[in-house]
Symmetry: C2
Subunit: 212 residues, 2 copies
């Protein structure tokens, strides 16, 4: 029943990138930010449905596999679902294609709720709710599993500031993006409520975990 967050951030703390275009909605920076994660066997299996066994199996993959374990529901911000990029498209179904990698109920926080949609085995429910109320909905739907706050950083920060998060894992890519939305703003002293561990992967990615 823990509440968990996993995010990829740059060395300068940015969890979003700024070079998206209509043709390339993630942008080049996003590819650089998540390059080590998307190279893992877990990502290839769980997100790309590549069952060949290809992909890295080191420290990055350990965190990648843990990301999917025990999750019963997910909460994400409107931006992560793409509602800021495609606000006027009522048919928008997210970035994840016909087989979203969630496989659990997903709650999308938005001030303009729309009817729920189901894509493969994932149902996206749009709710106008603050962190506590959203978490109550998600816990009810999670069947005893953990709830993940998927992102983006503004949504993650709201849950962290509210003291609602049991485990925060950041995978820090040692690149400097210089712009975007920082995860760490207004979180002075967060470490006081957690045990903090750090570990470096073969790829150079730095994994830092705040656990309580």
């Amino acid at each position: 029943m823990a509440v968990r967050i996993d995010l990829n951030i740059s060395l300068d703390g940015f969890a979003t990138t700024t070079d998206s275009t209509p043709e390339n909605p993630f942008g080049l920076d996003w590819g650089r930010l998540v390059e080590a994660y998307t190279a893992t066997r877990t990502f290839r299996e769980r997100v790309l449905h590549d069952t060949s066994g290809a992909g890295t199996t080191g420290v990055d993959d350990k965190y990648g596999a843990a990301y999917f374990e025990g999750i019963g529901a997910e909460i994400m911000g409107a931006g992560m679902f793409g509602l800021h990029n495609f606000p006027d498209d009522p048919e928008w179904r997210g970035w994840w294609g016909d087989e979203p990698p969630f496989h659990v109920p997903v709650f999308v926080l938005t001030h303009k709720p729309r009817p729920a949609i189901t894509v493969a085995d994932t149902t996206f429910t749009f709710i106008d709710a603050g962190p506590e109320a959203a978490l109550e909905r998600a816990h009810q739907a999670a069947g005893g599993g953990d709830v993940r706050i998927g992102g983006g950083p503004t949504t993650a920060g709201a849950f962290l500031k509210a003291g609602l998060v049991d485990r925060l894992h950041v995978a820090i890519t040692p690149i400097l993006l210089g712009r975007g939305i920082r995860l760490w703003d207004e979180l002075r002293g967060l470490e006081n409520d957690y045990t903090v561990t750090s570990e470096t992967a073969e790829s150079g990615i730095i994994h830092v975990a705040f656990s309580r």
Copy 2:
């Protein structure tokens, strides 16, 4: 003849702290930021003159020892020398007591130069110069050794932006300070000019090095 920077920063990128008082000019946050470094054997020997052999000897100490190796001169900003804290005290001789740990010529960048002072075997020379000119002075004084840009982050950033730095090592303490001066501002893409390595110490400190 390399130009080197070593800095302690928080997980949110701050290289200065904000809770200094006249009674405690470093503040509590500074102690937390450099706790693992000040616990090393190298720091105890080189800065505290403790020859008992006490102190940690792991990864943090490896970087601590490298910090002192091969340096022929140092450049620091006015703030690091304390000129912002004690602007009206012509007798101010820095924070380092009667035996400063530098043992090489130190050039202090300031728009209000004052006469040079010598404390034990360290001479502090105050110069009004930009990064390139300061580096020329320091190289001349370094006797073939490396030049260290001691800090603070504004000074370090100026040398990094000017492309003058061969090696940047940051020791990241996994605490969130939330305020101060960030090292990483305006350094987007810095990694493109360097090989970047990361390593985690027993203490939880994350050492990231940019080398070229």
